[in-house]
């Protein structure tokens, strides 16, 4: 059967999604069967359908204001130094 998604594609997508997947083969079969199932959409006859989007005007959004937190929130984090979150180096 012609594979809709290859191991290389799974590897690439996993890399983009920042997931360290050791055995890509493990995911190929199931992801393939899921995508194969999605092909039913081809027979839905919706090519000319307009996509309805519920838009929210900016005026309806809440005011963008600082709401003070009662505790020192940074102390609840697991990696911090002073007022900064600690993270690995970006090379």
């Amino acid at each position: 059967m012609n594979k809709l998604v290859t191991e290389e594609e799974i590897e690439l997508v996993a890399k983009f999604m920042k997931i360290d997947v050791h055995d890509h083969k493990e995911y190929v079969e199931k992801v393939h069967s899921m995508i194969d199932f999605f092909n039913i959409l081809d027979s839905a006859g919706v090519e000319d359908e307009e996509i309805i989007i519920a838009d929210l005007p900016l005026s309806k959004l809440r005011e963008d204001m600082h709401i003070p937190y009662e505790d020192n929130l940074i102390e609840k984090l697991k990696n911090f130094k002073g007022n900064y979150v600690r993270a690995p180096k970006m090379i």
């Binding site: 999604m17 920042k18 997931i19 995911y27 995508i35 919706v46 359908e49 609840k76 690995p88």
Partner: protein
């Protein structure tokens, strides 16, 4: 102490002084200790609940104002934040995460003196419909512990069904409240999109998911909706329900109402026992004075594919925030480059979450978006039109909540398509934003069957009236625990 009472009966008993909150909460905690090892509904039990009960008893004794829940024991799905309590989403990734704030639904329940007896199990990040994908092990169906309780709010439904609380809150993205409610013989409610604030619900697929109550009776659901619904400045998708009182007139009945029986939900693949129960439910609705006729909604057969494409895409985006830097499990920073650290940390996601994230990266990607994601949005739009059309002719729609009976643990876990198809009757309410409820209706071979009623957007009050009418026709055996 009789724990087998509804939320409203509990309140009445406390108000009249027949029981104390402390005694009831203590008995509830004992019940959890006695049976939860077998059922695994709870991920955490609140060690302060008895102390909280004593405080409410004291307020009652002193004649002080007490909130309308009167210390009612409620369980909360572990993807809803309670300040200073663990919120794991049943994921190793969030195993040590303590929520720094309350979800809006939690604040509202606290104001009304509800007691949260614990956080309950779910499929990891609510991705699943059996609770088997919890990183902390599956919950079991109290009607037969070899069987799945449904999901993803399986812990919620089990805890209500097994008298480990009087009510629970779950979340419903594609049936995650109604499916376990059906499998465990409880009421499960998915409100109109926006009726309940999602602030503090850890997002899976924001555009369609809602928090919903799981209760023993329809009246209990209406009572909880009165407390937790309404506009919230922290969730711009919330809608104004006009201070609707969902309990008032709940016994109005359905005489003269028109009900459409969705043909695509009682066709191929339906279990004969579920079909028979559905036909029986239609007869009972007619016996209550409703007029039931068949209705066809063509897009139903494409709805599951559309649903999984849309949810995978949103999940891929929502789960990008879990980088394990600010919170998460203990993985030392040293020796890693920034991106490799995040990739390494995210191996803690379970296989179902990883599969959906890979799908969520694939279906909206360049070269594939037109075939999958955009087409799914078009199906969603056409389905919405078809459903709205149906509601020009009918007041309600009816179908079985799930087309099959509860199945054995492990039976479908390796077959994602078989699992997808279990969702076929529930996803349309999420894709179209309409309210939907599962009412316990029948027991077949010791396993529950729920009937689903649907109404048009913002007709939540009317929907509860129909559900209440159907509920009055049913007399079910007690759960064998």
């Amino acid at each position: 102490m009789n724990l087998k009472i509804s939320a409203l009966e509990f309140i009445e008993e406390v108000k009249t002084g027949n029981i104390s909150v402390e005694d009831f909460i203590s008995a509830t905690i004992d019940q959890i200790k006695n049976i939860d090892e077998k059922l695994h509904a709870f991920l955490h039990v609140n060690p302060e609940s008895v102390e909280q009960a004593k405080k409410i008893d004291k307020k009652i004794k002193l004649g002080e104002k007490v909130g309308s829940c009167f210390g009612m024991p409620i369980s909360i799905k572990d993807n809803i934040c309670i300040k200073n309590s663990k919120t794991t989403c049943a994921s190793k990734m969030l195993e040590n995460f303590t929520a720094p704030y309350d979800a809006t639904v939690i604040s509202k329940l606290k104001e009304q003196d509800a007691i949260f007896v614990g956080k309950v199990n779910l499929d990891e990040f609510a991705m699943g419909l059996t609770t088997e994908f919890s990183a902390f092990g599956p919950s079991r169906n109290p009607w037969n512990t070899d069987y799945v309780p449904g999901g993803s709010s399986g812990g919620s439904a089990v805890s209500v069904s097994a008298f480990e609380c009087v009510a629970s809150l779950g979340s419903d993205t594609g049936g995650s409240v109604r499916n376990p409610a059906s499998f465990c013989s409880t009421v499960g409610y998915k409100p109109t999109y926006g009726l309940i604030s999602r602030y503090g619900l850890i997002s899976y697929a924001n555009s369609i998911e809602q928090i919903g109550p799981i209760t023993r009776t329809v009246k209990d659901t209406a009572f909880l909706l009165n407390i937790i619904s309404g506009l919230d400045p922290n969730d711009n998708t919330t809608i104004d329900s006009g201070n609707a009182d969902f309990l008032t007139d709940i016994d109005s009945g359905i005489e003269g109402k028109k009900i459409g029986v969705i043909q695509e939900m009682i066709g191929d693949g339906i279990d004969p026992a579920v079909l028979s129960a559905t036909n029986d439910a239609v007869s009972k609705l007619e016996g209550l004075g409703a007029i039931c006729e068949p209705v066809s909604i063509d897009m139903v057969k494409y709805s599951v594919a559309s649903y999984y494409t849309i949810t995978a895409t949103e999940a891929g985006s929502n789960l990008a925030r879990f980088d394990n830097l600010r919170y998460g499990y203990d993985l030392p920073l040293e020796g890693y480059e920034f991106n490799s650290y995040i990739s390494k940390a995210r191996t803690k996601f379970g296989p179902e979450v990883i599969r959906r994230m890979i799908l969520g990266g694939f279906v909206p990607s360049a070269g594939h978006a037109g075939k999958y994601f955009l087409k799914s949005l078009k199906v969603k739009s056409k389905l919405t039109k078809e459903v709205n059309d149906a509601f020009t002719k009918f007041d309600y729609l009816v179908a079985p909540t799930v087309p099959v009976l509860p199945f054995k643990i492990g039976e479908k876990i390796d077959d994602p398509i078989a699992l997808f198809l279990v969702d076929i009757n529930t996803v349309i309410a999420n894709l179209t934003g309409i309210p939907s409820i599962s009412v316990p209706f029948s027991i077949s071979n010791g396993l529950p069957i729920g009937i689903q009623l649907l109404a048009k957007q913002n007709d939540d009050k009317k929907l509860l009236q129909a559900a209440r009418a159907l509920e009055t026709t049913v007399q079910l055996p007690e759960v064998p625990i």
